[in-house]
């Protein structure tokens, strides 16, 4: 039995028919075509599917779509505004905070949630909060540098 629900994604309202066991990740990718959010493990262990719900980082692969009703969902596609990269996106580009780019959307979403909550984290605090996002390419060094650079320059505010 499917249910009609309304989801707010990147400022737009979508009406979708979902099964009760459908995850937010499945709905974002397979129904809304928002392919920026990645499926890396499907068990909430890698962070590639991270999105924001009311500003907090959530793993969309282990969250039911129906539980996201009434929340403001932001995906990686919702970060750049009017064609201008978000400071985090810009920093990852300039400082080489990515390689293959598969984990990058999830990492940037987590970083945004972290900086919004703690605009000037210490490196140790940042590493702790980013430890749920796996990356096999970068060794994290340039990822952490890219986030710290934004913290320094903008204090983490938009």
């Amino acid at each position: 039995m499917k249910h009609g629900i309304e989801l707010s994604v990147n400022g737009d309202l979508y009406e979708v028919l979902v099964a009760p066991n459908q995850t937010l990740l499945e709905v974002l990718r397979d129904k809304l075509g928002l392919m920026g959010t990645k499926r890396g493990c499907d068990v909430g262990a890698c962070g590639a599917c991270t999105v924001l719900l009311d500003g907090e980082a959530y793993l969309s692969c282990v969250m039911l779509a129906m539980d996201a009703v009434g929340k403001k969902i932001v995906t990686i596609e919702g970060l750049a505004e009017n064609g201008t990269l978000h400071p985090l996106q810009d920093s990852f580009v300039r400082l080489g905070g990515l390689q293959c780019g598969f984990c990058t959307p999830g990492i940037i979403m987590t970083a945004k949630a972290v900086l919004d909550e703690e605009p000037h984290p210490t490196e140790a605090s940042l590493k702790k909060k980013m430890a749920g996002n796996l990356c096999r390419c970068t060794g994290y060094t340039k990822v952490i540098e890219a986030v710290m650079d934004v913290a320094k320059r903008t204090g983490g505010q938009d």
Partner: protein, 764 residues
């Protein structure tokens, strides 16, 4: 001093970085086509069994199922990346050889129905005795995994030069030690995926695949589907990491293509994470016995090796892996007398394949560990022993390698200096220590494998530069490096260069991403193609500048006369001039590049040069061992690195940093645990590779050499650097707690046990 280059050597962002940070970059699983079907694979639950019967009738009747296929129906064509080692069917025929072996596949209108259909397939097996360790598998009477392969040994290599026995008898110290390296999964973040679409009118198959080897995949697909190679087009979208695991055709590629042909609809297969762990590839577990003879002052006089690699159920890259493991014992140290015997052995376990370093990390671990142990027995400094045994550029090499540039000796000194070796080694408090590891790696291979790359560079009316390259960018930045090389050659900003890469229907031949050959091979092809464009342009505009074409230079958007930068015309103006002279547009340059060797050689029985050039590095680790918990914290890792002249230092650093994290994983955490053929930890939750919390401070020191073969002096970067972190860390653990660990990974459990034993030995 004026910079030698404008674009090469710059820390430029990847050409596709913006697409990757906005979510716009398309990976294979992001592709959706109208009417697309979804496939799933049924895998063997048994490690070794005959397939007596497969009943697909219930699955085929499930509404929404559009196709079912078993091994019995597919052509009798085995495949494999190395032609002489082909031993695999896309779906098993008659027998399964490991838990996870592919038995059947289905496609349906959605993934859930496909999953349900898989559960409805009934298979009758006759279970066979299985074998899980290579040392058991080589024994007489062991179960035979592949008919006709005696002792399950599918590949053996013996290489010898000099007189090992004589050298041992003349040695001051001879040490024989045994080492073991575990199974490591590449764990790329993107699970393997494929989408196929078939045009029944033209008979053309298009396959989008998360692959490192589009052209080899085309060949394997053509052979197994029995359709001409010209009818197969493989397109590589963005690939979410590979590290060697995506060097092979997989069942998902074949089955997507098979069903696309049978149904006339696009078909997608995406592996689950546990399938990536169980049913793709892993770094070969390896037993290695090393016997080394040294003089009193620590010079290596001879080395003898006996290696048994656990290949799992199929060959994959077996001969290449064993060869690399053997050949790269001949660098970075001078080994005047060598005897190597290596065996690739089948077991009823997941399949070994190419993984970052490809057979060499296991060997490097053994050699670097033993070198430290022997240095101590000789009362010598391990840094000094490494330094004095270093090969040198230009000197005759006992194995026939041609070493034009070698920064290894410098790298030992620089890495030692940066970690504070003289002040720290043997002098830190109990629980803290420093260690070194050295390595060398090829930049691709010479022509023994008939491996070459092509490139086409095209300049349009507006001065925009388009490059067609077959190079497979899997996240390492191949397209960026090629854009920088072409931009430098033509004197245009790299933003003006667009690279179209890896579409076997459009781009020129390229072997793909393996063996660290892309920058040198595809980079040289692109550079020569750009030079050809430049030559045509110079010949056309020389008159305008009242100069000879040979005296012109293209740089920073201008073409000028050497030594007189004021006499110049902008690049765009030069293109206009070319056009207005009614010369045919677009301006096109083409090139194919292959490493030069005097004659083809396998190196198995004779000396020869393996690679166009060789990278060298020393890594130095500082660790802290918590003697209460047994946990090891890597505090710092220094890499002193000769990768020639880096085309993009930021990307090179990124490669090093990723290598170190991976090497650390191999040293301390990672292990694919298999019990009776069953992988016990096929998930990120249970496998545990390093997170941001574990990685140490990293320092990179560039030992720059100007290699004559590499484009703008470049050599490989980022694969060799995964060879030495593990021995450097384990050597540092010895310095910290005085225990020699010769089996990987060095887990807290092993450390606590060793500390307890040490305490008992000291008190008794």
């Amino acid at each position: 001093m004026e910079k030698e280059f404008s674009v090469v050597g710059q820390r430029l962002p990847m050409v596709d970085a913006a697409a990757k940070v906005t979510g716009a970059a398309q990976f294979t699983d992001d592709l959706v086509f109208p009417g697309m079907l979804y496939g799933k694979i049924l895998r063997s639950p048994l490690p070794h069994a005959k397939i007596l019967n497969v009943d697909v009738s219930k699955a085929a009747r499930l509404p929404g199922v559009k196709g079912v296929v078993t091994g019995a129906e597919i052509p009798d064509r085995q495949y494999g990346i190395v032609p002489k080692a082909r031993d695999e069917y896309a779906l098993a025929k008659g027998k399964v050889r490991y838990i996870g072996d592919e038995v059947a596949a289905v496609c349906a209108i959605d993934p859930e129905i496909a999953e349900e259909a898989i559960d409805l397939i009934e298979v009758d097996y006759e279970e066979l005795p299985a074998v899980f360790d290579p040392l058991d598998a080589i024994k007489e009477g062991a179960p035979i995994i592949h008919e006709g392969v005696a002792n399950n040994t599918s590949f053996a290599i013996r290489k010898e030069f000099g007189d090992v026995e004589k050298a041992f008898s003349e040695s001051y110290l001879v040490s024989e030690d045994r080492f073991y390296s575990q199974a490591v999964n590449h764990a790329p973040m993107e699970p393997h995926a494929a989408v196929a679409q078939y045009d029944p009118i033209r008979g053309e198959m298009v396959l989008w695949s998360s692959t490192q080897i589009p052209f080899f995949l085309r060949r394997n697909l053509s052979a197994t589907l029995k359709i001409p190679e010209s009818s197969v087009r493989v397109i590589k979208p963005k690939v979410g990491g590979g590290f060697g695991q995506k060097i092979d055709m997989f069942a998902k590629d074949f089955c997507a293509a098979w069903f696309a042909m049978k149904t006339g609809r696009p078909v997608k297969f995406v592996y689950e994470r546990d399938e990536v762990f169980i049913a793709t590839r892993q770094r070969h577990p390896m037993y290695l016995t090393v016997k080394t003879g040294m003089s009193k002052d620590g010079m290596i006089l001879a080395q003898q090796f006996l290696a048994h690699a656990d290949g799992g159920a199929y060959n994959s890259t077996a001969p290449t892996m064993m060869a690399l493991s053997c050949f790269f014992l001949m660098v970075p140290y001078r080994v005047p007398n060598l005897l190597y015997e290596g065996y690739h052995v089948y077991t009823n376990k997941p399949v070994g394949g190419a993984m970052r370093g490809h057979g060499i990390p296991q060997a490097r671990f053994a050699v670097e560990r033993q070198l430290d142990m022997m240095a101590e027995r000789l009362n010598l400094d391990p840094a000094d022993v490494r330094f004095k045994n270093s090969i040198k550029a230009g000197e005759p090499h006992p194995g026939g390698f041609v070493i034009n540039t070698c920064g290894f000796a410098d790298s030992v000194q620089e890495a030692a200096k940066a970690i504070g070796w003289r002040e720290k080694r043997g002098k830190l408090p109990f629980g803290r220590g420093v260690g070194l590891g050295g390595a060398s790696f090829p930049s691709g291979v010479t022509n023994m494998s008939h491996i070459s790359s092509g490139a086409v560079v095209q300049v349009g009316r507006d001065g925009a530069v388009n490059v067609l390259s077959g190079a497979a960018d899997i996240g390492q930045g191949a397209e960026t490096v090629i854009a920088q090389i072409v931009a430098e050659e033509l004197g245009v900003p790299y933003e003006a260069v667009r690279v179209t890469a890896a579409d076997t229907g459009i781009t020129p031949l390229d072997p793909g991403t393996f063996g660290s050959g892309v920058t040198v091979r595809a980079g040289n092809a692109a550079r020569i193609a750009a030079q050809s464009v430049k030559k045509k342009l110079f010949e056309c505009i020389a008159d305008e500048l009242e100069a000879n074409p040979e005296d012109l230079v293209a740089r920073d958007g201008k073409i000028f006369v050497t030594g007189s930068p004021d006499i110049s015309i902008p690049f765009g103006q030069a293109i206009k001039t070319y056009q207005y002279k009614d010369l045919p547009m677009p301006l096109v340059g083409r090139a194919s590049w292959m490493a030069d060797t005097k004659e083809p050689t396998t190196l198995f029985n004779e000396p020869g040069n393996f690679s166009p050039n060789y990278s060298f590095m020393t890594q130095a680790a500082e660790v802290e061992v918590d003697t209460t918990t047994g946990k090891v914290k890597v505090l710092k890792m220094v890499t002193a690195h000769d990768c020639g002249r880096p085309i993009n230092p930021m990307l090179v650093e990124g490669q090093l940093e990723g290598s170190i994290a991976g090497g650390m994983g191999q040293a301390l955490y990672e292990n694919v645990i298999v019990e009776n053929g069953q992988v016990m930890n096929p998930s990120f939750l249970d496998y545990g590779f390093p997170t941001a919390l574990e990685v140490p401070e990293m320092e990179t020191i560039d030992i720059e050499t100007d290699d004559p073969v590499g484009p703008f002096g470049a050599k490989e970067a980022g694969e060799g650097t995964q060879l030495s972190p593990a021995p450097a860390i384990v050597n540092a653990i010895y310095d910290a707690i005085g225990v020699n660990f010769n089996e990987l990974p060095v887990t807290p459990e092993k450390i606590l046990k060793a500390l307890q034993e040490k305490k008992q030995a000291e008190s008794s």
